[in-house]
Subunit: 316 residues, 2 copies
């Protein structure tokens, strides 16, 4: 387990470690989108990553960083989202057990996805208390290693590899943008940029309905969201201690966007670029469109975080 903020050697080691497991996702551009935005945008398409989201990078790095002893006992987490799937697949590929604590009322499609990767699903009540208690019980009983979805340096180092690949492909960028929920992806992105391209700005998009990062950064301390509510369901979580520290140091700006702005940006990407992205993934592009004038004529990298949507419940 990594005990300090990852430096360049840690991020490079993470990239090497996971490289035979992950997809090196493509970078897409669109002249029509560039025309609309007035900027030259490079979309790093983690919707094409395994399990359909960047989360696989961090989960994979965390699993591969365990000792032989730890591996035998397996990994555990509580999540009904992309982290659950990412961890389940990373565990499967390494032939170790995975225990995923999920609320009883989680959609069957999400449970089935995790079961499909061979993980064990453990039901809990739909409260944070029950999730944490159930996870603690599993960790005790199985001796499994708890892989936190974002407040973990191995996770952060894994997520950092997405922007590393982006920069290596595009060369110098003026800005790199990512969404922020718990802050794993944004922390990793900010570290990479600081280490590999310090002149590049790091700007995050955050849903107005879950705007703890914006307010935490302003206040200089963590102010968790209360009753977050947004269509960007991957960004409901508040920052953790580790991600807050990194984001405070290395992120230049957080732009808040409404659900309507998120849906419009998502629709534009689907229609013009012909790729399926989830609402959370549209947040940084929505932020760019909202404050267009800041990015005029610039080279902007955007991490498209994932593409897992319920096609039966689209907002258009």
């Amino acid at each position: 387990m990594t005990q300090n903020i990852p430096d360049l050697s840690k991020i490079e080691a993470a990239h090497k470690r996971i490289s035979s497991f992950i997809h090196k996702t493509p970078v897409f551009t669109s002249s029509i989108i560039n025309g609309i935005a007035g900027a030259e945008i490079f979309f790093k398409c983690e919707n094409f990553q395994r399990v359909g989201a960047f989360k696989f990078r961090g989960a994979c790095n965390a699993v591969l960083s365990l000792s032989e002893e730890e591996r035998k006992k397996g990994v555990a987490t509580h999540s009904s989202g992309n982290h659950a799937q990412g961890l389940a697949l990373a565990a499967k590929l390494n032939n170790i057990p995975a225990y995923i604590v999920m609320p009883k009322n989680a959609p069957a499609v999400k449970k089935n996805a995790v079961l499909g990767y061979g993980a064990e699903v453990i039901d809990c009540e739909a409260t944070l208390q029950s999730r944490e208690d159930t996870l603690e019980h599993v960790v005790k009983e199985k001796g499994a290693y708890f892989v936190h979805p974002f407040n973990d340096y191995d996770i952060i180092a894994g997520q950092a590899t997405a922007s590393k690949e982006l920069i290596e492909e595009t060369g110098k960028l003026d800005v790199i943008m990512a969404p922020v929920g718990g802050g794993g992806l944004l922390s990793g992105t900010a570290l990479t940029v600081n280490l590999l391209s310090p002149a590049t700005k790091v700007v995050a998009g955050e849903p107005a309905g879950a705007d703890d990062a914006y307010h935490s950064l302003k206040a200089g301390k963590i102010i968790p969201s209360t009753n977050p509510n947004t269509i960007a369901d991957g960004l409901l979580t508040s920052l953790g201690t580790k991600t807050f520290e990194i984001i405070s140091k290395y992120v230049d700006e957080i732009i808040m966007v409404s659900d309507e702005e998120i849906i419009n940006a998502m629709r534009l990407v689907w229609e013009r670029m012909k790729i399926v992205i989830e609402p959370s993934a549209a947040v940084p592009f929505a932020a760019l469109l909202k404050e267009k004038e800041k990015f005029q004529g610039q080279r902007v990298g955007i991490i498209i975080s994932g593409g897992n949507v319920d096609l039966g419940k689209l907002p258009f």
Copy 2:
């Protein structure tokens, strides 16, 4: 204007001619999709082509094949679909006028797309008679060159370049599949395969609600669809004389699929591959899934014909 069935030199010349205008679209694979299908599938993603469909290849080749004299007077067609957009953009890029005859009741979004490429839209009634009369009038008045959407050897040679790129990228394939409507893409595909990889089979998917190619091939003569009706709205047209001749010679099989099978295949591609494809583009994959046992263990190329869908009217 090309007067004979294109040979290899014509297809190569078309490819060279259009290469600086088109996108060299990527070939996508998915281990999950392969697992479901029991075959190794290479999707040639023409949904990422300019105007969102392969149609731009043929339109571009047709425009670039005109004489200087013809160019000055411009091009015309009747279409409210991808051919209209493809021709409008090809004309714009070559600074020549384009006249697109469209039914008055065509969706505003389709008219606006064509207007956005700088073409002139000429309204007609929503009958074939009115479309043809209006087009004839435009051709006479402006002296514009009528670019047929499929029954034209320059169009066919342009469409043939999609499978040429696919084969050049993947190497030997057991089967190549494409959808069939008017037959421009299928003819081009069949010619390429016959010329570059004659041992590869050519199999088409056709909607059961517009199944003229299936019946025409069986009968040995063109039997147009009467009142075709399918969600695959790019495939409503019946074969023309030129496409029928090529398809009769070089296509091995046509598999018919229901709208339900088309929707299921389309959904699978959206969900698993995270790309937006239109119903017509899902038809060959639906055909493969329907007759899976024929393709077990084979290397199959599928042309994904386009990605233009109305997100407000999805079938899921």
